[in-house]
Amino acid sequence: MFPSSLQKGQHQTALLLEDKRYNFFSVQAFSSPLTFPLQHCNPSSPLLSAVPTKPKHYRPPVKKKEGNAAKYITRTKAIHYLQINLSTFRKLCILKGVFTREPKKKVDGNHKTYYHMKDILFHAHDPLLEKLRITMKKAGTENERDDMLIDECAPEQMQEDSFEEGFNVDYLKVYYGKLFPHAEIFKWMSYGNDGKHLACDQSYFGRREFSFTLDNDVYLRFLSFNSLTDLEKAIKEKCPFKIDIGPVYSVDPAKRHAYAQGANNVFKPVERELVFDIDMSDYDDVRYCCTGADVCLDCWPLMTIAIKVMDTALRDDFGFNHILWVYSGRRGVHCWVCDGRARRLTNEQRTSVVEYFRVYKGNENCDKKVSLPGQALHPFLAKCYTDVLKIFFEEILINRQSLFANEERMDRILNLIPDEAIISDLRNRWHENRRLSTSKEDINKVRWEQLKHLLQSGKHKVQGLRRCVEEIVFSYTYPRLDMEVSKHMNHLLKSPFCVHPKTGRVCIPIDPNCCEDFDPTSVPTLAKLLRQLNLGGPNENIVNEWERTSLSESVRFFQISFLQPLLKTCKEEKESSYNAKIQKSKNSLTW
């Protein structure tokens, strides 16, 4: 009798799966037959009458009755089955510990998430579900429809209006699936080690640490991937809110515990790009338009200055060539120096480089934050003062930030002058010209000229006053680095082309040669990109989906201006080091 009742149960399943309007009774009826077969059997059923005799031969089941198609269920179907919406389903999964499964054969398509049928059935009559349904109804029915739609529909079918600005997991999934330049990131991180050349270190990419920040601030560190497909698969599957890139370790970071057993811990970072992080929030005492995490076009020139100063110095002074500037997604910029020489710097050498750049000192309790002692400025500082800082300060920042507009701001500048007589003199003059009805634009400039004139007019050749004008300009414009990020090899930094979870903006590269034109408010956002993706019809000529969106400009810039020259240098380095090795071994042979 067992097989037949089983068949009956299966029959019911099929019905259930096809019928969209499941009711509760049928769910219970379905899940029970295995345990209480008799209760549900109708004695008059023709099937039952045949029970005592065994079936003579195995009857092949109908489609979707057996195997993967019957064992697993996609998320949409599960949601329909349980008669809840996506967010409630998520809650249920978290509360009850239901995990997604990886069927061997994904019957409904590769990009979908699957759950085990038994898991879903087990929770179908959970009392919690009933409670969730009630709260769900209370929460309003408007969002429900949207959620369900976005879930698994292809983006092309979505309505244009449904892309709200901001950040959304479902958008992110599409972004990682279609737009994120996995291959480019992989090429970059391999540094030419993915080739066929004999000098290539095949384990190189696999020793690189990646780290993902998932939804709900779950933080996965020490991830490593062996190939492009591994990386791509993991990103698409986990859909991380943030991808961080760490150093290349001596051994595979995922297996670090295996190596930690020995007496000498061999697990240590061996290579890492020289990175810099500049945050707008560090400039809060010299900008009046916004504070904290906000940026606008009036304070962005500070970042432009930082890029210009750092980029020239890294190229001219330190001789680096492969430098990537990236918008951090909200309030700052990141810099990746990728030359082989830069990647192999020790912690101490890294510290020395950031110290070289550091002019700004002192904490909250010190009025004067920049001091430039000595008879002359270091050539690097002198150069950036005349080439960048002075121009930006006088032409842009004085007016945009209205640095001399009111008492408080004036006091802040006057505090930087060590001479009391000059301070009172200036204060009187500024007080006077307030009454003169000069236009608002001018007053800042006039006051600055007065200050400059008074300090440089030869009358005051006092020690300490000589540098005062420079010191003011330096404190208001010179780049302020987050030093800790650059000092140690194992500091993580967000990967380019990530999406910032708060703003939805993509972290795109910035061209240092025209960084004046970069506008943080107009970078591609997640919603904008999906809208563009949606608009363009299918095009045969296009290989990558990103070519249809405004991301193409950035990816192309990344490829042509950064990746290609970098890989070329890597190849040359590889070949020369390989030839040297060959030569050496030859020499030792003849000897």
Binding site: D217, A263, N264, D282, Y283, D284, D285, D316, D317, F318, G319, F320, R341, L345, T346, E348, Q349, T351, S352, V353, E355, Y356, R358, Y360, K361, G362, N363, E364, N365, C366, D367, K368, G374, Q375, A376, L377, H378, P379, F380, L381, A382, R480, D482, M483
Partner: protein, 452 residues
Amino acid sequence: MEVLRSQRKVVGPETVPTLPLYRSAPQLEVRLEDFELYAIDRLRVLKGLSDGLSRGKKPEEMEKLASELWKTHMRHQNISEAHNKDIISHFVLRLVYCRTEDLRRWFLSMETTLFRYRFRLESLDAQRMLMSEFNLPYKALSHTEFESVREKLAQVARSIGQPIPINDAIFFKVPFEEVPELVAGRRVFIFKGYAYVAMSQIVSLVVTQYRSLLSKALVLTNRKWMSTIQTEEKYRLTPIVESLSTSYLGPDYNQAKEFTEISLKDIDQVAHSSFPLCMRHLFEKLRENHHLKHGGRMQLGLFLKGVGLNLEDALVFWKAEFSKKVGAERFDKEYAYTVRHNYGKEGKRTDYTPYGCQKIISSTPGVGDHHGCPYRHFSEDNLRAALGKMGVSGRALDDIIEKARKQHYQLACTLTFEAIHATSCDSGINHPNLYFSESQKILQPKQSQSIT
């Protein structure tokens, strides 16, 4: 190097008056007594240097200090004997300080400092000889090259207050990686990855080389010690070595011992009476803003741990403050981890030790930071105000400000201690937790008297 018991049979090499590079252990026989005595003498020198550094002495003062220390402790009637003593003591200490990462780091930095100042005292010719011993591949700048960058070199020289290079000045063109300290101080001209190092700065180049040699040697010694020497010499050398390494580093205040625990309710009162200014300032800022940036959290958090605040109380303490600004939920998510991390309950599970004065003084607080040493990082007016709030005034206040101006930060701190507690403190303050425990030592009896 062989160690003999009470037999004198030293076969020294021919007298080499210059600074040794300690490339390989000498084939000498040493008496066991000397073995220990020499090492202790050298340790005195290193310890003196370490104190000098933490007092924030300037290079010129350090140079004087180094030569004085060397003369008092390491001199010997016989020149070759003195040379031997130098080498022997170095290798003994190498053995002593190779065993853990912390010991190695301390030894490395002190030996490098010693080497630096001894190198500077050598004559020019001797310096050049030492340079050639390192086999550095760098050639002096040719005349045409010198002319092409002359202007820039002059500019650098003026910016650091050195005489302007003349025609026959010797400059070396080296990769900037080789001279990190010159790069960090912006004391050299750098162009296309090469630093132009003047002859007077060559010490940095040599020191880097010396340091890397010694660092590698220490790791090797450690391996050897672990694998063979430790067991072979179990009864003879091991006890000496182990006692030597523990004797001079000073306590690290990892666990509070004398005053078992402080509880949350009297933390305010204790902060008022016994915290040094750096911690008091952080504490007040925390109460005021309900937030501290990372550097401040580390400095105060580890100090409180050293004072005896246990993990549960620490979590309650930080949560109470932070939740007023960022909310309890965000605290649990973002900040609680660091607190537990400090107590060795997360991640690497290292039990971190509280910051010492040297570390605090050398820290570099940025915008919005409140950590660091007030005597160094405050402007004079702010320092005056802060000290006034602590109840210091008059002569004492001026003395403290004077010391801070002269960069004797720890002396300034000691003076503050004396002014507040109205006693003298001979040992000096070199750790915030020392300040706290000394203060408690004075205050505790008084309290118990007043209670009874």
